[in-house]
Amino acid sequence: MIPVPLALLIQLIPEIPKLVGDFRALFTKYPALSPADLMAAIAQVSTTTDATADAILAKAALDAKA
């Protein structure tokens, strides 16, 4: 018969790689995104966002006139 603590340990074994990964993530130093790269990434997203917002406002203005 397997003692309870050992049975629990065996159940935990599949979780160990994930726990190791989480532990490593705590001490991983990420390469910092440069301010220029960050601003470029934001500009890329916000250009589309801005265009969609403009279309929404135009549609709302049309609806208000109708």
Binding site: I16, M39, A60, A64
Partner: protein, 147 residues
């Protein structure tokens, strides 16, 4: 007996590590808060466009009255789209996140979108629910009041 158990544990650890190589790779870098906000703002804007289309259809079908549609447009969709453009401009102009965040919180407070619940009929709240959820994601991110 103890040696056998220890041996089994070692074998188990080694075999699991070998079968799950992906979980041991270096995790990806977290998204900077300004870029995360830009992405969430994009999702919010898309949801606004979807709500506007849904309202248009609901108006044609008679499910939403023209006055309700006008109210939602005036109290939620137009102020939200205007707010989106303001936040977008701040994000593009301000590299320092803490400064940008302060300006964004000011813009959110001035827009008054959080008061939409009081002015939109209960029946129409379900139509705009998706956009409200997207708005709340942004509000939580910057520490502004949720709707």
């Amino acid at each position: 007996m103890r040696i056998a158990i220890a041996f089994m544990l070692v074998i188990g650890l080694v075999s699991c590590g070998g079968t799950n190589p992906n979980t041991l790779t270096t995790p990806t870098a977290p998204t900077p808060p300004a870029l995360k906000l830009a992405n969430d703002l994009h999702a919010f804007t898309d949801s606004l466009a979807a709500v506007q289309n849904a309202l248009e259809t609901a108006k044609v079908n008679g499910a939403v009255t023209p006055s309700t549609m006008a109210t939602i447009n005036a109290k939620f969709i137009v102020p939200s789209a205007t707010l989106v453009k303001q936040i977008d401009a701040i994000l593009r102009a301000q590299a320092d996140w803490l400064t940008a965040k302060k300006q964004i919180i000011g813009a959110v407070a001035a827009a008054g979108v959080a008061n939409v619940s009081a002015s939109v009929p209960a029946t129409a709240q379900t139509v705009i629910a998706v956009s409200l959820a997207a708005y709340n994601t942004i509000a939580v991110e910057i520490g502004a009041p949720s709707i």
